[in-house]
Amino acid sequence: MTRAFLALLKRDIALAIRVGGGGGMAVLFFLIVVTVVPLGVGPNLNLLAAIATGILWVALLLSALLTLDRLFQADYEDGTLDLLTMGKLPLELVAAAKAIAHWLTTGLPLVVVSPLLGLLLNLDGHAFPPLILAMLVGTPALSFMGAIGAALTVSIRRGGLLVSLLVLPFYVPVLIFGVVAAGGAEAMPGAGHQGLMLLGAVTLASLVLGPVAAAAALRANLR
């Protein structure tokens, strides 16, 4: 079972890297969203520094959403998902493998480029470590909760917008705790640590809830 799990994980990562349209595109989108913000609010560096953490997190959510609708859909369309359903690997673990692959090819690259984008937004030097830590802790939740939305809309053509509508409310706690954990939003002293702990709790809960709910949603759609 472990071998099947790892094989699926390897396949999904290879697909995301070779076929493109996955992680690379999300990073580019992240870059563009962050570039558009100073054009919208003006190049005032003090203002940008104050809202940088919030912008980075919002852009991160949007970029993660962008790649979600293809999470299960490609496999649904060519019948791979039917085979995976009949295989020995429980559907819950299939969903978990795909969510992990999504995180490795989308969440992780976004975290890696976020310091660079922080520089563009005049983010303070000492604000970088908590930001990166918060993003590392929080991004798995985006992939695992997003997997639920992706599984629910697997049979819908052009379900991208619907996925966003379904998943964004679930991202609210991640955004709130993430921004505070990263030291943004003029939080009170001590709130950052609390935010990080709560963010960790949300991520851990999503690691359990995500695959189970995504598998149930896939079964509903594959009937």
């Binding site: 629910l152 709130i176 949603a217 509903a220 759609n221």
Partner: protein, 251 residues
């Protein structure tokens, strides 16, 4: 056909699974429920608008509360009904449960919207602005988005059986998330404004205001139940029409 009176509770629950029986029973229920609703809301409106004092701090604006609080309560109650019915649909496969969940969603969403609008109207004289990112208003807004997502999912998946199961999963995941979202929003709000602002419903409330509020809440609840039954009947009829159309198209 045995009468409903000599069945146990479980048997009655299963007997209702027969849509024909449900239709026959609810046909008799809708009118009395509607009358009770009308009487309660009429009494509530009279008490709220004419026979209750103005608040010493909020003045006449306090009367918005008699609509706002019951709407907010039913906005949340609607989600509980939806999630409960979804659980019954997934676990027990009760054929009316997904009809109930689907029918509850737009009603709950409407109450949620009403709570937001009245909250905003109340906020204008109280806070001096139409919208404040207050914890309650914000989490109510997100609840409305959860409703809209649920309704949109039903609308996009064409086959009812498939849509029912997917929507049930969404409603259940949502019901787990609603407390987390609410907690996170409250936490976020306290970080930004430690001093508590006006509460639309304080911890203590005078009896002269509590009476109209309770009657309104009861009236709104009856209104919710009546609408739910009417919508469920309409949904059952819609499915019958769909089945007949499909049969004709195939035959």
């Amino acid at each position: 056909m045995t009468g409903m009176s000599d069945l146990t509770a479980t048997q009655r629950f299963h007997a209702l699974a027969n849509p024909a029986r449900f239709m026959a029973l609810t046909e008799r229920l809708v009118l009395p429920l509607g009358l009770v609703t009308a009487a309660l809301i009429a009494a509530g409106v009279y008490l709220a608008l004419f026979d209750s004092p103005a608040d010493y701090q909020q003045g006449e604006t306090v009367r918005i509360m008699y609509i706002h609080v019951p709407s907010a309560w039913l906005g949340m109650f609607g989600y509980m009904v939806m999630a409960g019915a979804s659980l019954v649909a997934l676990v027990f496969r009760h054929p009316l449960a997904d009809v109930c969940a689907k029918s509850a969603a737009p009603v709950g969403a409407a109450f949620c919207f009403l709570a937001l609008v009245t909250g905003s109207l109340w906020g204008r004289p109280m806070w001096g602005t139409w919208w404040v990112w207050d914890a309650r208003l914000t989490s109510m807004l997100i609840l409305l988005f959860l409703y809209l997502g649920y309704i949109a999912l039903w609308a996009t998946i064409e086959e009812p059986a498939r849509a029912a199961r997917a929507a049930a999963v969404l409603a259940l995941v949502g019901s787990i998330n609603v407390p987390i979202i609410h907690y996170s929003v409250v936490w976020w709000n306290t970080l930004h404004q430690p001093a508590s602002v006006f509460r639309i419903d304080g911890p203590t409330i005078a009896t002269s205001m509590l009476m109209p509020l309770l009657i309104m809440a009861l009236g709104f609840t009856f209104f919710f139940v009546t609408l739910l039954l009417v919508r469920m009947r309409a949904e059952i009829l819609r499915r019958r029409v769909r089945a007949l159309r499909l049969a004709r198209a195939e035959g």
